[in-house]
Amino acid sequence: MLHIINRSPFADSALESCLNTATGGDVLLIEDAVYAATSGSAAADKLRAAMGRFKIYVLMPDLDARGMADSLIEGVSPVDYGGFVDLTASNKTCQSWL
């Protein structure tokens, strides 16, 4: 299953709720959620802790827009819009944590 998060981990509990609820699968961070995958942020530790159960992806155009591309943490796979589409196709179901 693909889990899509688009809210900042500092402003919303969507990422935390997803990681606490879902049993595993793919997690794609888009829009303001990309901040979770940046070094030095408090959310990065939670993300690292979840890497055993989940494969984590980040939408690069959103990371670039925010000037955070240099801060991407290890273990997170960057994808472009094509990669986003591939993820929705390769997973049987997907959920946006709005």
Binding site: A11, Y35, S41, A42, A65, G67
Partner: protein
């Protein structure tokens, strides 16, 4: 001018994910045209607005971050960043595209108290 008021703009949202950051900037520039005493406060996710190196081509959205550098041309030079917010996001003063004054939460709160008008974004 005798009727100059102290305006503070409180920015708490990251750029691009919502329209708040851009809207704040628009109102800041309008206020500057009226020769008011303007301060900008960046706290919580608002600190991300000042991040260097924003490249928005991929999301086909206007990159408005250069406008923060132009603020001094409008005599807006009071930019304040909350230290706690900056630290929690792994950012330092060197990560920002403009010079800012870093304040503690307590100092920020005191500054808010001194304003005549506070606008929140």
């Amino acid at each position: 001018m005798s009727d100059v008021k102290k305006f503070m703009f409180v920015n708490r949202k990251a750029p691009y994910g919502t329209i708040y950051a851009l809207e704040s900037l628009e109102v800041v520039l309008i206020t500057a045209a009226f020769d008011q005493d303007v301060s900008l406060a960046f706290l919580d996710d608002g600190v991300y607005q000042l991040r260097k190196g924003q490249q928005t081509k991929g999301i086909e959205t206007k990159n408005f971050s250069p406008a923060y550098r132009a603020l001094e041309d409008y005599d807006i030079e009071k930019l304040y960043v909350d230290k706690e917010s900056m630290d929690a996001r792994g950012l330092t003063e060197e990560d920002f595209l403009v010079d800012v004054t870093v304040l503690s939460r307590a100092e920020m709160g005191k500054l808010m108290d001194e304003q005549d008008v506070v606008l929140s974004f």
